[in-house]
């Protein structure tokens, strides 16, 4: 393994180092302060196997109200929140083929937004490329796990008043949404998802305020139905925009 390639992979992963350590810590702090009994081990298991910020921040909310989430609902929500991952593998269908099987599975399992972004930019060839891609995936994965565990430990050590800190979760989703909406194609879907949820929320508050925590599934169903109904228009708008 060439040290130069490993070093190049490390340099490429530096922005992710900053991002994942801080985001991972935010996740760990939230998890350990919001979910009773969650600690560094919980954070380590979640971050090692899931490696998805959007999934894990939503998971904090779901684990906190675990009674409201059956395993089936958990699976549906996980599917919907992470559906974008189904397209991330497409550019790598061939690239990953020459790897030994366990490494290939590792590379598939570690395709996060950021790792995907770095790996699709790479122009190396042959063995150099294989080493590079593996190192980027591995480094990013480790930053995420280390950040999460550090956050969870910190969250359980510091007895500070955390009431209101759960807004950080809402803030994270807002940040992601603002960045997504820089792309005009995402604006109409965002408006649909937000307004459908607000409407379903209003219905729940009016008729059954005790069950508001169950609103995501109906809201998701209506949103998907609307997006499918509007498919023709949304795709046309995109083609005209290009």
């Amino acid at each position: 393994m060439s040290a130069k390639t490993v070093r190049a992979a490390f340099v490429s992963s530096m922005p992710v180092l900053m991002g994942y350590l801080t985001m991972g810590m935010a996740f760990g702090i939230l998890l350990s302060t919001q979910v009773r009994g969650a600690d560094g081990l919980t954070a380590a298991v979640m971050s090692f196997f899931t490696i998805s910020g959007s999934m894990q921040f939503a998971a904090v909310e779901m684990l906190r109200n675990a009674d409201a989430y059956s395993l089936a609902l958990t699976a549906v929500l996980a599917l919907v929140i992470n559906i974008r991952y189904t397209v991330y593998g497409l550019p790598f269908l061939r690239t990953f083929r020459p790897y030994p099987r366990p490494l290939k599975y590792y590379l598939i399992g570690t395709l996060t937004d950021e790792t995907y972004a770095i790996e699709t930019q790479d122009r190396r060839r042959g063995r150099e490329k294989r080493v590079y891609l593996f190192c980027v995936a591995f480094f990013d994965h480790m930053y995420w796990v280390v950040g999460s565990v550090a956050g969870a430990v910190l969250g359980s050590l510091l007895p500070f008043d955390t009431s209101g800190v759960d807004f950080a979760m809402a803030a994270l989703f807002i940040v992601v949404l603002v960045d997504l909406c820089r792309d005009a194609d995402n604006r109409i879907p965002a408006v649909i998802g937000g307004s459908v949820t607000a409407a379903v929320l209003a219905v729940f508050v009016a008729f059954s305020p005790g069950h508001v925590n169950k609103l995501l599934l109906p809201a998701m169903a209506v949103t998907i139905a609307l997006l499918l109904a509007l498919r023709g228009k949304l795709q046309k708008a995109r083609e005209e925009g290009k």
Partner: protein, 106 residues
């Protein structure tokens, strides 16, 4: 942490791994993604995140305890977060400032 919570964690991880593996399982022979799936992949992320924004803002105001009392603080904190992110593009700054605004005003 209950058994149910651990099972939820396992289900979430399994779904995410399945989604990442999906194209490799299904399409390694084919050239094109099914159009419907590709479309949903494109539009669903923004819709789902917008949904989570609305839902998580509603959850932090703790409606069943204090009604809409905390809604103005949450709304203002949300606007601060979005505004900072739009201008500065620094997620950490936006999240910390927005959260601080909410903690101070609630």
């Amino acid at each position: 942490m209950t058994l149910h919570q651990w099972l939820m964690i396992a289900v979430m991880a399994a779904v995410v791994i399945f989604l990442r593996a999906f194209p490799f399982l299904l399409l390694s022979g084919r050239k094109k993604t099914p159009a419907l799936l590709f479309y949903l992949g494109r539009v669903l992320t923004a819709a789902a995140i917008a949904m989570l924004v609305v839902y998580s803002i509603f959850s932090v105001i703790d409606y069943n305890v204090s009604g809409w009392d905390r809604f103005p603080a949450a709304l203002l904190a949300g606007i601060v977060t979005a505004g900072l992110q739009y201008v500065c593009r620094n997620p950490l700054v936006s999240i910390i400032c927005g959260t601080a605004v909410f903690m101070l005003l609630r």
